[in-house]
Structures are given as C-alpha cells and as structure tokens.
C-alpha cells in the first residue's frame, strides 16, 4: 500500500489546510503570506498531477473517508452504503489536473496584482476554499457531498467576486451571482432528495447501478440540468457570468472559470454516468444541444458589441461554454446507439472534452492579460486604450497566443477541438456546424478588435509612464501560455493521453459503477 492511495484525500486536505492557515501566516508579514500562497498552490498542482498519472496507470481510484470499505455491515448482516466516498476516474483526474493548473496560474498572478490592496490574508483563505470546493466537486463519489462542495466553492467565490467592495458594481455582480448560484445549489439539493426518496442512497455509483426511468428520475434530471446549466453559464441564465467575471479580480476570474467547469463536470457526471443509456428519449440531449447553440450564438453576439475588455472576454465565456454543451449533447444523443457513437458521438465527446481544457487555459490567460492591462493602465474601457504593444510587449505576445487559440486559428489548440466539433455536429445536422463556424468567425472578429485597439496604434501620451507588469504576473500568465503552446504543438499526444482516456471513462458507465463494487468486495479501497 503506497502513500499514493491517499492522493484523493490530500488533494482536498492541502488547500483546506492552506485556507485555514492563511490568516495565521499573515502574522509573519507579507513575505510569509505570499510564500504560503505559492507553496500551497504548487503543492496541490503536484498532487493533482500525481493523481492524474496514478489514475492513468492503475485505473479508477476509490478512496473511502475514515474506513476500509464503503459499506457498513450491521449486526443483522444488512449492509448499508453509508461511508463518504471519493471516486476518481480518468475524467475526474483530467478535470482536477486542468483546474489545478488554472488555479496555480491565478495564484501566481494574484501576488503582484493584489499587492496594493489590504485584507489579503482573507483573499488567500477564500481562494484556497474555492479551490477545495472545486476539487471536491470533481472527485466526490456521492451526491450530497457534491452539493456541499458546490456550496463551499460558491460561497468562497461570492466573497472573492465582491473583494473590491469599494466598487458598487462588484457588489452588484456578487449579489447577482449569489442569487443564481444559491438557487442552483438548492435545486441540486432537491434533485438529490428526489433520488434519495426512491433509492435511499446518495452514492453516485450505486445510483448508476439501480436507477430506472420514471417520474421521480425525470424530475431529478430536469432539476440537475437546470441548476448546473445555470451554474456554468448557459444562455437563459447567463447574465451573472459577464458581471461576475468582469468585476472579480483577474486572478480570481482565472480560477472561477475552472469552478464553472466543475459544474459542467457535474452536469456530465449526472447525464452520462447516472442516467447514461437509460435516457432512451432524445429530448434531454437535444435540450443540451439547443442550449449550447443558443449560448454560443447569443454569447458571441453580445461580446462583439462590448467596450469593456473584461465584459467582452466574459461574454465569450458564455459562447465557449456553448461549444462544450454542443459536443457533450451530441455525444449524449449517440450514447445508446453504438453505431452512431462510433461514427460521430465519440468524436463530439472528444471535441467537447478537448474544448474544456483548451477553454480553461486560453480563457484564463485572456482574463489574466485583461487584468494586466488594467493593472498597468488603470482603465477598463477599450476606447481609452491604445498603443500599449510598445510598452507591454510580453503581455501582448501572451494575449496574442490566447486570442489566436480562442479564435481557432489553425496551429493552435482551439482549432483542433473546434474541428472535432464541426465534423461531428455536421453528421447530426449541418445547421449545428454552421452555427459553430459563424460563432468562431465572430470570436475572431472581437479579438481582433481588442488587439487592434489596445495594443496597436500610435502611442498615447497618457500612457507614457506605463511599464510592463511585474515578473510574478508574467510567470502566472506564462504557465497558461506554455500550456496552450504545448497543447498546440503536440495535438496527437494531448488527444491520446489527456482527452481520450477522459472520454472513454465518461462513456463507460459500467466501469465507474463497477470500480466501487469491486472495491467493496475486496474489503476496501485502501
């Protein structure tokens, strides 16, 4: 029994410890607090990486909190699945890895970015709490814990969005975000209760095994779908997203993106693993596809008209989430049909999963560079900017990488995932691919706009004293920049090693369920 079996628990324990010790480290001054911030972030990134390699080599990892097996055997011989369970399959491990990278980049960036503000020990504590919640959502094996972690990450992120509480707009954004999030979380809880009322379990694997298709399940599914689509910013309830993303400090937004991806993860865990092939009717997949197409199109058309850098990029998040919903929706549509799955379903799923990692990396980088612009110039409005390329060449290069990736220009990673989506959605209905392409073109247009107005043009007199941002901010941005370049230069490697295992794990419901039962038969997951 190697120490590596404890990785799932460590993944939660390390940031949690980081959060609670952060106020104490502040007693040791600024240096100690910043060291702690970086140290803990680096630690959870390493743990996430180890966990990912371990799951890659030894298969799904099961971890039972505080016990050997996940069953409690009563004297009467009856056995009840009560213990708290972490289940990390390839898809979870993949999500954990990319969330950790985004959170690390956000943390590195925040050190210099937030330096001029007070109350940073609380900032660090909330940041780590949010990260804990995010990891928890991605590795938990039971629904009630999913709700708890969802609330942990949400409540911490409300505080972070409103961190600049001297700005009324930040509070307004936080209130809006909070309203949507809290309602969403309560709907998740009601859905969990519905499932509990019928099966008396909250364990995901057990539910996946015993679930049938009836009224209770339909209600629960609709509640899950609505709540998690709200949380990840799909169209009818997307209005919190541009507000919160644009008003939060840039480093936080970078991690918030990963948090919204965790909600997306929950959505697909529910639809693929719990309901999976039971979902005979194509209604739910089509609802997801339509939500995806609407998000893509409405998000991007709102983005084109924005003048504020943060809001413009934030509206693109709505449209990018649409791409993922589209990919996963098409995959779900093909799930019960082996031939369709082989023809286009699996490609769509791969495209969706690949888009998750690409989106987290380039969108994080875009927000960080928007933050860098704000840090250097103090303005948010595009109309006030110009000629900054001469003053901030490194930021410009990093922004260029991210903008090319999000627009899907050929050598970059965004192109690969979008190509998968075009190919596969075309097989379902050509109009879907058309929407995806039009969205891509509009995306390019709006990023050309930012690039042209902010970085190019004559040097403005008021920006004479603007200098390149400090080194730690550049390091934070480079983490994501390097990740994008690596994904772009080695697309075959990333598809084979990152994306495919995750896609296979998501489709293979039996293995997710089986892993838990195998672990309990052999007397424990440890």
């Amino acid at each position: 029994m190697s120490w590596q079996v404890h990785l799932p628990a460590l993944l939660l324990a390390v940031p949690l410890l980081g959060a609670f010790l952060a106020p104490l480290t502040a007693l040791g001054g600024k240096g100690l607090r910043n060291t702690w911030f970086v140290l803990v972030s680096a630690a959870f990134t390493v743990i996430a990486f180890l966990l990912w390699t371990r799951v890659g080599s030894t298969g799904t990892a099961i971890y039972v909190m505080g016990g050997q097996g996940w069953n409690l055997a009563l004297p009467s011989g009856m056995s009840i699945p009560v213990r708290i369970l972490m289940e990390v399959d390839a898809f979870s491990a993949f999500m954990v890895l990319l969330s950790a990278v985004a959170a690390l980049a956000g943390a590195l960036f925040s050190i210099a970015f937030m330096d001029r503000f007070s109350g940073l020990e609380k900032f660090v504590a909330l940041y780590f709490l949010m990260v804990t919640g995010m990891f928890g959502m991605e590795i938990t094996g039971d629904f009630f814990n999913f709700f708890v972690f969802l609330e942990i990450s949400s409540v911490a992120s409300f505080g972070l969005v409103a961190f600049w509480r001297d700005r009324g707009e930040a509070l307004e954004a936080a209130f809006k975000y909070m309203l949507v999030s809290t309602l969403g979380a309560l709907m998740v809880l009601v859905a969990v209760a519905f499932l509990y009322s019928k099966y008396n379990v909250v364990n995901m694997a057990t539910l996946g095994k015993v679930i049938e298709w009836g009224m209770v399940e339909k209600t629960a599914l609709v509640l899950f779908l609505t709540a998690l689509a709200m949380k990840c910013g799909a169209v009818p309830m997307h209005m919190w997203m541009p507000d919160a993303y644009a008003e939060a400090p840039a480093g936080v937004t970078c991690a918030l993106i990963a948090v919204s991806q965790a909600s997306l993860y929950g959505l697909f865990r529910v639809t693929y693993t719990i309901f999976g092939a039971f979902m005979g009717s194509p209604v739910i997949p089509w609802v997801i596809i339509v939500l995806g197409v609407l998000s893509m199109f409405i998000g991007v058309s709102m983005a084109v008209i924005q003048k504020e850098v943060g809001r413009l990029i934030a509206y693109h998040s709505v449209s990018q989430v649409g791409y993922m919903l589209l990919g996963f929706g098409v995959g779900l549509l093909a799930l019960s049909d082996a031939r369709a799955m082989a023809e286009y379903g699996f490609t769509a799923l791969k495209g969706g999963i690949y888009h998750i990692v690409n989106y987290t990396m380039y969108k994080g980088l875009l927000f960080l560079s928007a933050g860098a612009l704000y840090y250097a110039t103090g303005c948010r409005n595009l109309n006030d900017m110009g000629g900054l390329g001469r003053k901030m060449p490194k930021t410009m290069v990093l922004f260029m990488i991210a903008a090319a990736a999000i627009a899907g220009l050929p050598p970059f990673n965004g192109f690969v995932s979008k190509l998968y989506l075009y190919e596969s959605t075309f097989a379902v209905h050509p109009i879907l691919a058309v929407f995806a392409m039009v969205t891509s073109v509009l995306t390019l247009a709006s990023f050309v706009k930012i690039f042209q107005t902010a970085f190019l043009g004559p040097a403005l007199k008021k920006f004479e004293n603007v200098r390149e941002v400090p080194g730690t901010m550049l390091i934070g941005m480079s983490v994501l920049g390097v990740a994008i370049l690596a994904l772009s230069l080695f697309p075959t490697w990333s598809v084979n090693h990152l994306v495919e295992p995750a896609a296979k794990a998501l489709v293979d419901q039996a293995s997710y369920v089986g892993a838990v039962f195998a672990a309990s038969l052999t007397g424990g997951g440890l």
Partner: protein, 116 residues
C-alpha cells in the same frame, strides 16, 4: 398519519419563494425569499426521512422495542444544509447592506449599473 400534507406545504413554500425571488424589488425581500426556498428544501428532505410512528434512529444491542425508525441520513443532510443556508443568508444580507451604502437604495431597479 400526516399523509401528503407536509409535501403540500413544501410545494407552497417553494412556489412562494420562487415568486418572491422573481417579482420582489427589494434586495432584503429577495434574501428572505431565498431563505424561504431553503426552508422548503430542508422540510422536504426531513419529510422524506420521516416514518409514521418511527422512533429515534439509534441502534442499541438490547433492542428497544420498535424496529421502525425514522431515517437518520436525511437529518444529517438537513443539518449540513441548514448550516450552509445560514452562511449564504448572512453573506447575502451583508451584500445587500453594502449595496445600500454604494447605491443609496435597495431597489433592484436602482441597482443596475452593470448592463448590456
């Protein structure tokens, strides 16, 4: 004995809460409406675990007569949910307070600097 009456109450509370969130204009009242939805959710979970005539869910080796117990899990879930609800309500009210300081109003029609 109680039949479906608790579920009816849950439904009514839920709908009331939702109506409050959608139609109320005052931030404080919106916060109250969220709490009402929260209460409805908690009541729902507790009701699910209730067994008519059941005893408290504690096993003793001696066996205390009734083998019919209310379910313990929903109670544990509800306790957690109540604590989380407390945190969100407190935070929401403090946001409302800070918003009042900045905007001089609690009316959602006045708190609209972010749009478009």
């Amino acid at each position: 004995m109680t039949g479906n009456f608790p579920y009816l109450v849950v439904g009514i509370l839920f709908v009331m809460g939702f109506i409050g969130i959608v139609f109320e204009k005052n931030l404080m009242k919106i916060a109250i409406a969220v709490s009402v939805v929260e209460a409805a959710t908690n009541l729902f979970i507790i009701t699910l675990g209730y067994r008519s005539g059941g005893s408290i869910p504690v096993w003793t080796m001696a066996g205390s007569g009734s083998s019919r117990m209310v379910l313990p899990t929903p109670q544990a879930l509800t306790l957690t949910a109540i604590v989380i609800g407390l945190a969100t309500t407190a935070l929401m009210l403090s946001f409302a307070m800070s918003i009042y300081r900045h905007y001089g109003s609690l009316d959602v029609r006045d708190v609209r600097r972010l749009r478009g």
